[in-house]
Each structure stands twice: as structure tokens, then as C-alpha cells.
């Protein structure tokens, strides 16, 4: 009997201890988010501009969130595989993604739906620009427009993405110059640059960070940036608007999680990424890479996401 009693007591106390540990762990998971690594999915190759942005942000939020934020690259497929990856994980805030909004807007609707995601926030990053070869015949946007008008269809502009902002910029430029140009879609920014420097195309469209180092050495001329004002890092580069073209396009990068992620966790992520995006460290990085580090909270973004996507899908239709 006594033995049995002892055993019952022991198991009871063990049970109690287990329960207590279990409960404390449970309460920790509610209050103590995050308590394990947050996977940061990037839909591009390691070493790409987007990947570098994600790595810099990850390093900054790791400090404030006190957990590791490893990068998981899911390149190819125009970003779709990276969104599918986030969609297939639980909505617990432990899988997030950095996404180019123009690419997302064009491809959302089939494998993933708008309602699958909610936005933590938007980082305004590279401005779309147009550049020519440093020792080539086109020193200004006016030079390029002049040839485009006198010899319609002669000017070729290369850039990544067939239906993205680079192609849209080229389309707006030729429409407003009342002419016709050829857009050559490339599989990577580096390949556009190589085609430009080799004289195989007349100009390239791309994000500003693409040509930052080549501008310094005079290897490329940046003819115009598609922002409202000149970038502080490049006071000598005029905007499209200054040169009579109504073109304003910015490659926006947004941080997204799966819909249904608890609101308190979204708030924690939002706070951490906002602080990172507005930190001195990220500002310095954005000057080097010529980004615009403006943070927009995801709440407002999600409200007009459908309108945004409609605009982007119209752009796509226009380009086809």
C-alpha cells in the first residue's frame, strides 16, 4: 500500500510538474513572441539587390527581436515560389517575405491570392532609371528621344522583367516621345549592364543600385530617374519630369506575412522593421545603394492593395 501511495504521489507530482512546465511554455508563446528563428524568404538569388536588402534588414531586426532571422532564397518563377512557400507555412509570424510589389501585383491571382497575405510595411527602394553607355552617342534623354523620333524602332532598351516597371518605363518614354522603341527583356540586371557596355543595346532601364558603381567611373550616363525629386546621392541626375516626361515609377519592396497572423505578432514585426528601416545604419546603406528608405505601415497599404494590383495588371495588359 505504502509503495503504491508513494508511487501515486510521485506520479501526481510529476504530472503537476509537467503541466506547470507546459503551461508556462504556453504562456511564454503567447507573450514571448518571437521565441524561435523567423525565416525571411526572398524570391531572388543570393547576391541580388533584393537579397542584399533583406540581409541588411535581417541583421538589424535580429538585434531588436533577439532571435536569428535566416534568409531562405526561393529564386525563379517571377517570385511565385517564394509566396507559395510563405502561404504553405502556418500563420504564426515565423515566416516572412520580402517582395517586389510590381512583380507581386502582376502575378498574384493564380497560385496565390491577394487575401493570402498581409503587409507588415513597404520600404520604398530603388527608383527606376534609364541609362546609356558613358562613351556612347546619347548624353542626355533628349539625345535618345531625338533618335527615337527620327528613326522609329531603332532605339533598343534592355531591362529585367518583360511586364515590370522597366518595360513600362520604356513604353511610357516611347509613347510620350511619340515614337517606337524596342524593349529587350533580360534575365538579370547584370546581363542588361553587360549588353549596354558591349553596345548591343542603346539604353537600359533598371533600379538605381544597379549602376551605382558604374556611374562613379563614368562607364554609364544616367539619363533620368523616375522620381518626383532628384536623389540626394545623385544631385547631378535630372528626373524625367524636369525633362518633360511624365514618368514616376519606384520599385517598392514590401515585407509580408500570411493572413491570419495574430495582430500582436504583426505589431511586433511592424515595430522592429520600421525601426530597422528608419535606422542610421539602413539610411547609410540606402545612400550607398541609392534607395529611398521611406517606411509605410502595412495597414494603409493593405487597404488599397486591390487598387494597386489592378493598376499593375493594367500595366501588364498594356505591355502585351
Amino acid at each position: 500500500m505504502t509503495i503504491l501511495n508513494k508511487n501515486t504521489k510521485l506520479s501526481a507530482s510529476l504530472l503537476f510538474a509537467t503541466l506547470a512546465v507546459g503551461m508556462s511554455a504556453q504562456s511564454a508563446s503567447a507573450a514571448g513572441y518571437p521565441e524561435k528563428p523567423i525565416v525571411f524568404v526572398v524570391g531572388n538569388n543570393p547576391g541580388s539587390v533584393q537579397d542584399l536588402v533583406a540581409r541588411r534588414l535581417a541583421r538589424l531586426v535580429e538585434v531588436s527581436l533577439k532571435v536569428p532571422v535566416p534568409i531562405e532564397n526561393r529564386p525563379g518563377g517571377g517570385g511565385v515560389p517564394s509566396w507559395v512557400q510563405v502561404k504553405n507555412q502556418p500563420a504564426d509570424g515565423y515566416t516572412i517575405t520580402l517582395t517586389g510589389l510590381s512583380s507581386y501585383g502582376v502575378r498574384v491571382g493564380k497560385a496565390v491570392k491577394v487575401e493570402d497575405f498581409q503587409t507588415i510595411g513597404v520600404l520604398h527602394t530603388s527608383a527606376v532609371l534609364i541609362a546609356s553607355k558613358g562613351d556612347g552617342p546619347y548624353k542626355t534623354l533628349a539625345d535618345l528621344a531625338k533618335t527615337a523620333v527620327s528613326e522609329p524602332g531603332k532605339i533598343s532598351i534592355a531591362g529585367t522583367g518583360a511586364t515590370g516597371y522597366n518595360a513600362y518605363m520604356a513604353k511610357l518614354f516611347s509613347d510620350q516621345a511619340k515614337s517606337r522603341t524596342k524593349f529587350i527583356p533580360m534575365t538579370g540586371g547584370n546581363k542588361s549592364v553587360a549588353a549596354l557596355l558591349g553596345g548591343h543595346v542603346d539604353a537600359i532601364g533598371g533600379g538605381s543600385s544597379l549602376v551605382a558603381n558604374l556611374k562613379k567611373s563614368g562607364t554609364v550616363n544616367i539619363l533620368a530617374v523616375a522620381t518626383a525629386k532628384r536623389h540626394p546621392a545623385w544631385p547631378d541626375v535630372p528626373t524625367f519630369k524636369e525633362q518633360g516626361f511624365d514618368i514616376q515609377l519606384v520599385h517598392e519592396q514590401s515585407i509580408m506575412v500570411k493572413s491570419g497572423t495574430p495582430a500582436d505578432r504583426v505589431a511586433i514585426l511592424r515595430k522592429a522593421f520600421k525601426a530597422a528601416a528608419e535606422s542610421e545604419d539602413y539610411k547609410k546603406f540606402s545612400i550607398e545603394g541609392v534607395f529611398d528608405p521611406t517606411w509605410t505601415d502595412g495597414e494603409g497599404v493593405d487597404k488599397d492593395m486591390r487598387a494597386r494590383i489592378e493598376r499593375l495588371q493594367n500595366v501588364k495588359k498594356l505591355l502585351q
Binding site: G47, V80, A162, N190, V193
Partner: protein
Amino acid sequence: MDSFYLLSDGFSVALMPANLLACLIGVVLGTLVGVLPGIGPVTTMAMLLPLAYGSSPTTMLILFSGIFYGSKYGGSVTSILMNIPGEGSSVMTCVDGYQMAKKGRAGAAIGIAAIASFVAGTMGVIGLMLLAPPMATFALSFGPPEYTALVVMGLTCIAFLSGTSMTKALLMGCLGLALTLPGIDPISGDERLTLGLPFLISGVDFVVVGVGIFAVGEVLYNIETHSAAAVFTAPKKFWELMPTIEDIRRSTVPILGSTVLGFLVGVLPGGNPGIATFLSYGATKALSKDKELFGTGDIRGVAAPESADNAAVSGSLVPLMTLGIPGTGATAMMLAALILAGLQPGPLLIQEQPEFFWAVIASMYVGNVLLLIINLPLAPVLAKILLVPYRILYPFILVVCTIGTYSVNNSLTDVWLLGFFGLVGYLMRKLDLPAVPLVLAVVLGPILENSLRQTMTLFDGDLTQFLQRPIAASLLAVATLMFVTPVTRSILKWRSELAAAKST
């Protein structure tokens, strides 16, 4: 003379303890990840990228380039021993390397791969050191039309790899091209032939097709037909485990020629090391008198692609160092590491940072010597893996294939696809259909599609403009010659056989 002083300065930096250690870690790590299919140098560098914050750009690039060329030394091991092509550029090594292993000459094959890699690696560094700026001009002379012509030339190698039947080879080539079609259309950006299956959106990965058809297919076929003892001839004496003087003599010309070819293709930022290996194998076979030996375990069939692959590594550093443009995934990682370490490579890099450039050059000489010292004695040891009984060896090969394939995208779907392509490979062996043309087309298909469609836009659909581009026109002429010669030969052979059959 100037270069000599700069290089000796470079050596004094490269031999500093921290840099020497970085070089050693890089080449050892590179060899290890090269051996494993799937986990390539790019993944390894991505994992090590956080080290770049606050470190010296020189040390970082010594480490990363060590991983890059080290992986090429390791890559031949699984190709030769297990018929596993870890990446597009090791497909050709499988062809003769695995046949050599079957004949009990795995040690010789691994040994010649190490020697070929060393010679090509070292000559490639000399090329990079002396020719980088003029080579940059050559790199830029290739636009979409030239790449189209180059890939067409790569595809004509199918004619040399046909084995028994040209028709079957061409058919398999077309099947391979078709396999590259599902995914996102590069021009319109629309989903194409994805059949509503989410995993087809990112297309079919080369590793899944190559490893499935080559390695898994081979294992399945052997299980049915032989025991492993019958598949692999056991080497009897120790000297059989090393390349002989005769092997080295026969390999000398292929190694030297393939080094030049590999370096030139490597320099092109839109090229692909796969093209270099296919072309070097095709050229070596075309220029030899005893063509029938290729594919049956000829040592030249290992020496040529291995040297081309390694020379392409040094070549691919040319656009990175002279222009700041990365051509391959590995050089993009190097660029990322340099930027994170605070160095922005551009056209002025070699002038403004000579100590950096020359230290990296010097470290590559050191690294290649280290790799030869590590890899050559390992050849006979590794070759002994094949003496393991087949009921252990075959499951082991399948495990390596599965882990390698899974690790590319962390995707279980890829593992199922690996099984599917394994079955395809098995059936292809049963039906005597050649695997190389199919896999070659899978590697080259996407590059062909992109560059051809870019060219068509540039030319406004007018194909005759190819003839106005000297480089593209000459490459296409060579490609036509390469293709027409064996095809004509097989037609003539067929006609004479037909005539002989009629007369009897």
C-alpha cells in the same frame, strides 16, 4: 616586370596567416561541397555571407574564390564514382569517368581530374593576371545574337554524343528542350505549361533531371541486370589506382586545348560553364583519330571537361574584377561579399585597389597547389568506395542523390520528381536511348530560349541579321560544320549499307 613586383606583393599578403587560413578553409570546404550534389558553392557562400560584415574584402574574396574553384575539384568525385552530375558542368565527366570506374580505373579518373583541374586552374589564373583588361572587351563583345550562336554550337555537340543512333540522340535532345518549357515565360511573364501544378511554376530543376536519369536510372538498371561485383571491376594492384604516364601523355593536348576554350567561355558574363564542358568534350572527340573510344571510359573524356570547367572559373572572375559585373551565381555571391565588406567593384578596381587584386591572384596559385596536394592522394582512397558490396553501395548512392536533390530547394516534391526521372532513366536504358543529349538540352534550353527571343526582338524578326555580326556568323558556321559532318557521315554509311544490302 611591373606585374612581377605586384604579384610578389600579392604573395606577401596572400601568405599572411589569416589569408592563408582563409584559403585553406575555402578550398577544403569547396572540395567537400563539390563532392555532395545539390549543395553547391553558391549555397555555401550564401551561408557564409554574414561573415563579410566588417571583415577584410581581400580575406573574404580569398575564402570565396577558394570555395568556388575548390568545388570544381570535388565535383568530379561523385560523377566518376556514382554517375551523379551535381551540376550542368559535370555531365560530361560522368560519361567517360563512370565508364572508367566500371573498368576498375576510378582512381585514374579521379587522379586525372585533379591534375587537369590543377593545370587549368593555374593557367586560368595566369590568364586572369595577364589578360584581364583585354579579355573584358572580349566579354562585352557578346550580345544576345552571339550567345544564341554559342548555345547553338553547344547543342550541336549532341551530334557527337549520339552513340549508336543519330535519330535517337536528336529525339532525346528535343525532349530535353521540351522539359525546359514549363515555368514563367521569359518574354510575356505568364505561366506556361504548368498544368495547374504549383511546383512547375519555377520550372524543372536541372539537378532533378540530371541526377534522376544518370544516377538513379543507373542504379535501378543495375539492380535488375547485375550484381555490383559484375558492374565494377575491382582494381588489383595499387598502381592501377593512379593515372599512368600513358594516361597523362594522352591527356596533355586535351587539357591544354580545353583550358583555353574553358577560359574564353568563362569570361562571358552570359555564358555557362556547361557550354565550356560540352564544347571541349565535343572538340576533343572531333579532333581525335579514335573517336569510338569516347563514351567507353576514355581518359581524355574526363581530362577535357574537367580542365574546361576549372579554367572557366578563372575566366568568370574577369568581368567581376574589371567591370563589377558578375556572370554566374558564384561570382554574384563574391560581389555581394565584397559590397558587404565595404568594397564596391567597378571598372576602376584593379587600378585603385591593386593590392586587393594581386593578393587574390596570388591566393589562387596557392589554393590550386593546396588542392592538388589534398586531392591527388585521395584518389586511390576514394576509388576503394566501389569495393563496398552492392547491397550497401546502391542504397548509399540513392541516399546521396536524395539528400542532394532535397537540399537544392528544400523541397520534397523535387525528391518525388527525382524518383520519376529515375524511372525515366531506367526506361531509357532499357530502350537504348542516350541520356546525354537530353540532359545537355535541359542545361542549354533556357539560355537558348532567352537569347534567341532577345535577338529576335533586336533584329525585328529578321534572321539574316545574324550574318552581319562577325562573331555570331562565324560561330554559326562552325556549328553548321560540326553538325553536318557527322550527320552526312551517318547518312552516307546508311546509304552504303543499303546498297550493300541490295546487291546481295
